[in-house]
């Protein structure tokens, strides 16, 4: 049995593409992701969790990093390793506030309906469902990477 890290060195690229930095571009990217994962035999619940995390990460890029940017674009890359699906999202927009991704605290459920949160769920879901999340700012680009613990095992 090879060491975990060695297994992961052999990552098979699944897709890497540019998309428009708009909600429609996010839909398109998620469609490309579903096709990229086709044939890896992810269960439907796993596939949904994976799509949800990537959707939340991309929505944040479009709504925050790329807001007001002319001709906004982002790149979504996926690869398959022994420990799951590795996701890389890059954009040329604004950096994260404080240079770090939000902690994504669990949503608080207040007693009063009027006080219910209508946002702030995104980073909580990302933190809940993604593993080994990293963020770096490099050469004017944001680069977010994380692992989804699905489709684990030997990479065909």
């Amino acid at each position: 049995m090879p060491h975990e890290d060695l297994v992961d060195e052999a990552r098979k690229p699944l897709m890497s593409r540019d998309f428009a930095g708009t909600p429609e571009g996010v839909r398109e990217a998620l469609g490309a992701m579903r096709r990229g994962l086709d044939g890896l035999e992810a269960g439907s619940e796993e596939a949904f969790s994976a799509e949800l995390v990537v959707a939340e990460a991309l929505n944040n890029v479009v709504e925050h990093a790329l807001a007001g940017v002319g001709e906004p674009r982002f790149r979504l890359g996926l690869s398959h390793g022994g420990r799951g699906i590795y996701v890389e999202i890059c954009d040329g927009g604004r950096p994260m506030p404080d240079g770090k991704p939000p902690l994504g605290a669990a949503p608080v459920v207040p007693a009063e309906t009027e006080a219910l949160p209508e946002g702030g769920f995104g980073w909580f879901l990302i933190r809940e469902l993604a593993r080994e999340l990293t963020y770096e700012r490099c050469g004017g680009e944001n680069r977010l990477t994380f692992r989804l613990a699905i489709c684990q095992g030997e990479v065909a």
Binding site: P23, E24, V26, R27, S44, E45, F48, S49, E51, L52, A55, E56, N59, V62, E63, A106, P107, V109, T113, E114, L116, P117, E118, G119, F121, G122, F124, L125, E128
Partner: protein, 114 residues
């Protein structure tokens, strides 16, 4: 944004005829639901049986709709698919809404309000 409304026993059932409630349609969804809440119906039931994907923007829009409900009106969800149910559960918003397993149950009085 495709919403189909049907009156039933004085109440209004609104079925979302979209596979996704996501960032691309969340605002439109909220606006169209606001119009439907403005009617005379004491109860509005949102049928989510056709919705296979809900992200946090969609969830935020459903929460926003709940907050628009009038004092003499109630709002409930029905027929959450597994994916949608998961988002409500993870964010604990399942504890905030009245959720019926299907539309029929909403009219038979069996809810699993948590």
């Amino acid at each position: 944004m495709d919403l189909v409304s049907e009156e039933r026993g004085g109440d209004l059932v609104v079925r979302v005829e979209e596979e996704r409630i996501d960032a691309a349609i969340a605002v439109r969804f909220k606006d169209e639901m606001r119009v439907r809440l403005g009617g005379p119906h004491p109860r509005v039931i949102l049928d989510l049986s056709r919705v296979d994907f809900l992200d946090s923007s969609g969830l935020g829009a459903v929460v926003a709709v709940l907050k628009e409900v009038g004092a003499d009106q109630s709002f409930a969800l029905a027929a959450l698919t597994g994916n949608v149910e998961k988002v409500f559960r993870l964010t604990r918003m399942d504890t905030v809404f009245t959720i019926f397993p299907d539309v029929e149950s909403a009219f038979g009085g069996v809810a699993h309000a948590s």
